[in-house]
């Protein structure tokens, strides 16, 4: 059971890493416009 004592922080930490990545992505506007980027390639 002592394994939990270090597995738990690791699990939460890994989750937090992805949360931070998500927050950075959302702040930089990556989720603001989900419709246009796929069409941009057709424009040039």
């Amino acid at each position: 059971m002592n394994a939990v004592l270090f597995l738990l922080p690791i699990a939460v930490f890994l989750g937090a890493v992805f949360l931070v990545l998500f927050v950075v992505a959302a702040r930089s506007g990556q989720f603001d416009d989900l419709d246009d980027p796929p069409e941009r390639i057709l424009k040039d």
């Binding site: 998500f22 927050v23 959302a26 989720f31 603001d32």
Partner: protein, 732 residues
């Protein structure tokens, strides 16, 4: 590549001249420095603007290119579909007013955007944090609940509870903030809606969590995190739908040119369109858009008014004809006396209706109506429990039992009953080809009594097709038309191709707009000219006539769909801007009894409005920008996916397949969905009566709660999952 094309065509002078004209930059300067921007650590500022007046993909390219080549600009992207512009720049080297000015000198109109985007991003962040916390708390809660059966080391219980509480803290204090502010502003304005029991529930669950964790008792922070995450997800989907509707309205408002050529006496000057006054004379040349509503005083030409009438075919315009802003002059030249400008134009009035429709988005739901009773009921029971136990057993018993009442009286099932069933209904409808933007629209569908259909592109396929012609006449006509880009030419060439007729090569061909086309095929001189409605005549040199009948073909399953709607007890009406006899023919072919012909876009909206005022609920299906006012006025507006982008964006629902068949099926989905919501609400109220009763009596311990709480959510989920089965049953 596009730059090379522009240079190659000698078009760069056009852009140079446009810059010197600079039609509008002056009035824009005020206000730009008050725009809220975000500045990151490297000092780069970022903001979003709307850019109006983008008419093609190359407009976007030019605007982006000019912005990106401005010193100090790090990044500039513009969305063609919505006109949204994202700018990142160095505030030391250039300011926003200057950038806006550069956009304006190109002839486009930058303007401030609503606050919706930041709201959206904010909700997304809150949802992300809540989902992260909920997932991790669930992981530990599963261990804690299982620990009630098999033994668990008390040290781990303490560890799990503290970690859960730490994770739940940002959820309760930050993620749930919109519910608290909603509840508070509701209370201030005397409106009690669903935010109130949610805020109360979050506050009680979190307070209980803190106290219980300190006292080493069972905390219910898992319910808290899950509740907040699910509710935020629902709220964000709603907000996205609303924003898109608003942007559609904006993009329509933008489709009038920024400048016009005003002629005074024998002089012509280019002026901003907003300086035009009724009575001014403006010149319009081939390929130009008309900047204001007016009457033709001189000249003639063919005009495309698809944005107003929805009929793609160009209209012949002569002196004294009325013309509306946004029309494109395909050929010819004319002088127009302005009759309406700015907000008075037909186009702006259409845009105004669309905007009103976008604002109509939020309204109280049935859950909102139950919410105050739910809150009051819970508080009354908690108070009675507290007072009763305090008198009977003392405070030591009264406090935990009153708290237990508040904790188990979870608004979760009630607040989720609608979003879950609605999601199931939306999914069931989408799988059958009709996608709805919001649950409100789907639920409104259940009340619909009249189904109004646009003709062109909705009941029919929306493209000209040859209905009847002799092979020989078709062959000669195809020989004449093979160099033309006219829609009639396309129809004739298509039909000739599908009949396998080899195309002759015509010579000496002259095309006179609006009059017809003539030329030599097989050594004889032929003329092709318009006949009656839906006809072109082919004349040989001896004057003999051959008729080629053209028309729009009814979609193959329209008649069956309309029969199904009649069978369901609904009235079906056909609204079209086309001629009476064509409308009557389509009506006969499809079995529609009510046919309204020669009706303009605002007329369609008024027709719908009149029916609504008589107490009917109207569904309107259409495909053009011109159907916008109708789509906005109707209780439920459905656009064809193949139609104009604005109609797709403004409509409540979009048909993805080229057919009307999804409409009756979506009606079944609406009925199934509404029933599921009512059942779910009944179940969640039943659950709460049972759970609150048990808590008041003191029968709730963490183990009972661990079974009861997921049970209420499971019940609601099960109810929602029945929607799909019900739709299948009703459709068969």
């Amino acid at each position: 590549m596009a730059a090379a094309l522009i240079r190659g065509a000698g078009l760069e002078r056009y852009y140079q001249e446009r810059e010197t004209l600079a039609p509008r930059s002056r009035q824009l300067e005020a206000g730009w420095n008050t725009v809220s921007t975000e500045t990151d650590s490297s000092g780069t500022a970022e903001t979003h603007l709307m850019v109006d007046g983008l008419r093609c993909a190359s407009c976007v390219w030019v605007a982006e290119h000019v912005l990106q080549s401005t010193p100090g600009v790090a990044e500039a992207t513009i969305s063609y579909a919505t006109g949204r512009c994202m700018l990142r720049w160095d505030p030391e080297r250039v300011d926003l007013a200057e950038l806006a000015g550069r956009i304006a000198t190109l002839g486009y109109r930058p303007r401030l955007m609503g606050e919706e985007t930041t709201v959206d991003r904010d909700l997304l962040l809150r949802l992300g944090v809540a989902a992260f916390a909920a997932a991790n708390i669930m992981m530990m809660s599963a261990a804690l609940y299982l620990g009630w059966w098999s033994s668990i080391d008390p040290r781990f219980v303490v560890l799990f509870q503290w970690v859960s509480l730490i994770l739940a803290t940002p959820v309760a204090l930050w993620c749930a903030a919109p519910f608290f502010s909603g509840a508070v502003s509701g209370l201030k304005n005397g409106v009690l809606h669903m935010d109130l029991p949610i805020a109360l529930g979050v506050a009680v669950l979190y307070g209980q969590g803190v106290v219980a964790t300190i006292n080493r008792e069972h905390a219910y922070v898992d319910s808290l995190a899950m509740l907040v995450a699910l509710l935020l997800a629902g709220r964000m989907l709603e907000s996205r739908g609303r924003r898109r509707a608003a942007e559609a309205a904006m993009s329509l408002a933008a489709s009038v040119p920024a400048t016009a050529r005003r002629s005074t006496g024998d002089r012509v000057e280019t002026v901003p369109a907003d300086q035009l006054r009724p009575g001014d004379l403006i010149d319009v040349g081939t390929g130009e858009e008309v900047a204001a509503d007016g009457v033709v005083v001189a000249g003639s030409g063919r005009v495309r008014m698809a944005h107003i009438t929805g009929e793609a075919e160009p209209v012949e315009v002569h002196s004294a004809a009325e013309i509306v802003a946004g029309s494109v002059l395909l050929d010819g030249a004319m002088t127009i006396r302005v009759s309406a400008v700015g907000g008075d134009t037909v186009l702006q009035q259409m845009a105004e209706r669309l905007r009103m429709a976008a604002d109509r988005g939020t309204r109280p739901t049935s859950a909102d109506r139950i919410a105050p009773w739910f809150t009051a009921g819970t508080l009354v029971v908690a108070t009675v429990t507290f007072v009763g136990w305090a008198l009977h057993d003392g405070l030591a018993t009264a406090v935990p039992r009153a708290v237990a009442v508040l904790v188990v009286a979870c608004p979760c099932a009630l607040a989720l009953s609608r979003p879950l069933a609605a999601a199931a209904g939306l999914g069931a409808s989408a799988r059958r080809g009709l996608l709805f933007r919001s649950a409100d629209a789907l639920l409104d569908l259940a009340d619909v009594t009249i189904v109004a259909l646009d003709k062109t592109g909705t009941v029919t396929q929306g493209a000209l097709t040859v209905l009847e012609a002799e092979d020989e006449a078709l062959r000669v006509a195809a020989g004449l038309e093979r160099y033309s880009s006219h829609p009639i030419a396309a129809a004739i060439l298509d039909e000739a191709g599908s009949r396998g007729i080899p195309l002759p090569r015509g010579s000496d061909i002259t095309e006179e707009p609006g009059v017809g086309i003539s030329g030599v095929v097989d050594g004889r001189r032929w003329r092709l000219r318009p006949g009656g409605p839906g006809q072109v005549l082919l004349l040989d040199d001896a004057g003999r006539e051959r008729i080629i009948a053209l028309g729009d073909v009814v979609r193959s399953d329209s008649a069956r769909t309309i029969a199904a709607l009649h069978e369901g007890g609904l009235q079906v009406a056909l609204l079209t801007g086309d001629h009476q006899d064509i409308a009557d023919r389509i009506g006969r072919e499809t079995g529609v009894r009510t046919v309204v012909a020669r009706i303009d876009p605002v007329g369609k909206a008024l027709w719908i409005k009149a029916r609504r005022e008589k107490g009917h609920r109207v569904l309107f299906a259409g495909d053009g920008i011109n159907d916008g006012p109708g789509l906005a006025e109707a209780d439920v507006g459905v656009a064809m996916g193949s139609g104009a982008a604005s109609s797709v964006l403004i409509a409540d629902g979009v048909i993805s397949s080229g057919s009307l068949a999804p409409i009756p099926v979506a009606l079944h989905a609406a009925h199934a969905c509404r029933r599921a919501i009512r059942l779910n609400q009944a179940r969640s109220i039943g659950y709460n009566i049972l759970a609150v009763g048990a808590a008041a009596a003191g029968y709730v311990n963490p183990l009972v709660a661990a079974v009861l709480m997921p049970l209420s959510s499971a019940m609601v989920i099960w109810g929602a999952s029945r929607v799909e089965a019900n739709v299948r049953e009703l459709s068969s």
